[in-house]
């Protein structure tokens, strides 16, 4: 069974209406975006009414530096990283976004060298 990962999230995606909007940190430039854990829609700031960015050619480029937001070293943002993002702190303080902690859907894609199989039993 893949290791479970903690993910901070701020509500749910309006595109697929299901995925939690996780706070994803770009491994190259440190930029933090809102990434839907289900359909991979990306928002660069707290304006969730704006059109999201989608994957291109199977990958999801960081809006700031174009490095992959899916592949390592990109990761779910830590509490400390979140505290350093002004627009995020402002949105949380004004109540525009509510910060919660949960479990991510998928493991990091590059973690699974072994074939991925459904968990057997329990």
């Amino acid at each position: 069974m893949p290791t479970k990962q903690t993910m901070y999230y701020v509500g749910f995606c309006r595109v697929c209406k299901t995925g939690p909007l996780g706070l994803r940190c770009c491994g190259q430039c440190g930029n933090i975006v809102l990434l839907c854990d289900e359909c991979d829609a990306v928002w660069s700031d707290a304006d969730l009414a704006a059109p999201p960015q989608y994957a291109q050619g199977g990958d999801l480029p960081c809006p700031a530096c174009e490095a992959s937001l899916i592949e390592r070293p990109s990761h779910w943002a830590t509490e400390e990283q979140i505290q350093n993002v002004d627009w995020l702190q402002e949105a949380i303080h004004t109540g525009a976004l509510e910060l919660k902690q949960g479990t991510a859907f998928a493991p990091d894609a590059e973690d699974d060298e072994s074939p991925e199989r459904p968990a057997s039993g329990g």
Binding site: F12, R14, C16, E38, C39, I70, T103
Partner: protein, 199 residues
């Protein structure tokens, strides 16, 4: 008339003569009587259809190829898979491949925030066939609601029968309610995600 599984020669000749007479008279009868009689092609297709009805419902002639699915699901292959209905499953998503992402909905993840739709079936070929069924139903405009979001199309397809349940934190709090709808997100012919849900 049937002896050890074979027709006698006399019966065989009789049948051929009858068929020839029918084929000659069929167009004349259709014209003069105004009734719809099956032609040779219709009769042939009847025989072909009846010979495939022993398969399970999902296993149509254009059922997903199990070997191809297994190859992608149990390796790090990034090859594109195209379903019988024409949906393209490419590499992408945090699962590495859209097909793996879809199959992650074959099991519950009780601690996932919100709702996590889970298919009743855990078989890749059955789940891909179910998504194909939804895609075809959506294209035909039957029991479907459609939304656009940029280049994406989001379908909400009502199957009229149970296809799965709602798991995740929210679903497990409510005793995993049954789901008969499928939400399908695509970009053109490219599959993004699909999962059972309750409206």
């Amino acid at each position: 008339m049937v002896r050890s599984g074979r027709l006698s020669v006399r019966w065989l000749v009789g049948l051929v003569v009858l068929a020839a007479v029918y084929l000659l008279l069929q167009p004349v009868l259709v014209r003069s009587l105004g009734i719809d009689l099956p032609g040779l092609r219709d009769l042939t297709s009847l025989v072909t259809e009846s010979s495939t009805t022993k398969r399970p419902a999902w296993q149509k002639a254009d059922a997903p190829a199990t070997g191809e699915l297994d190859q992608i699901l149990h390796s790090n292959s990034r090859q594109t898979y195209e379903s019988p209905a024409g949906l393209r499953y490419t590499r992408g998503s945090q699962h590495g491949h859209r097909l793996k992402h879809l199959l992650a909905h074959a099991a519950d993840q009780a601690d996932r925030p919100g709702q996590h739709g889970v298919f009743d079936s855990a078989k890749p070929e059955e789940i891909v066939a179910l998504v194909d069924e939804a895609y075809r139903q959506a294209q035909a405009g039957r029991d479907v609601r459609e939304e656009r979001e940029g280049e994406r199309t989001i379908y909400a397809v009502d199957f009229g029968r149970r296809i799965g349940y709602i798991g995740g934190e929210s679903g497990n709090r409510r005793n995993r309610p049954a789901a008969r709808h499928l939400r399908l997100v695509i970009e053109g012919h490219n599959f993004v995600t699909a999962f059972p849900y309750r409206p």
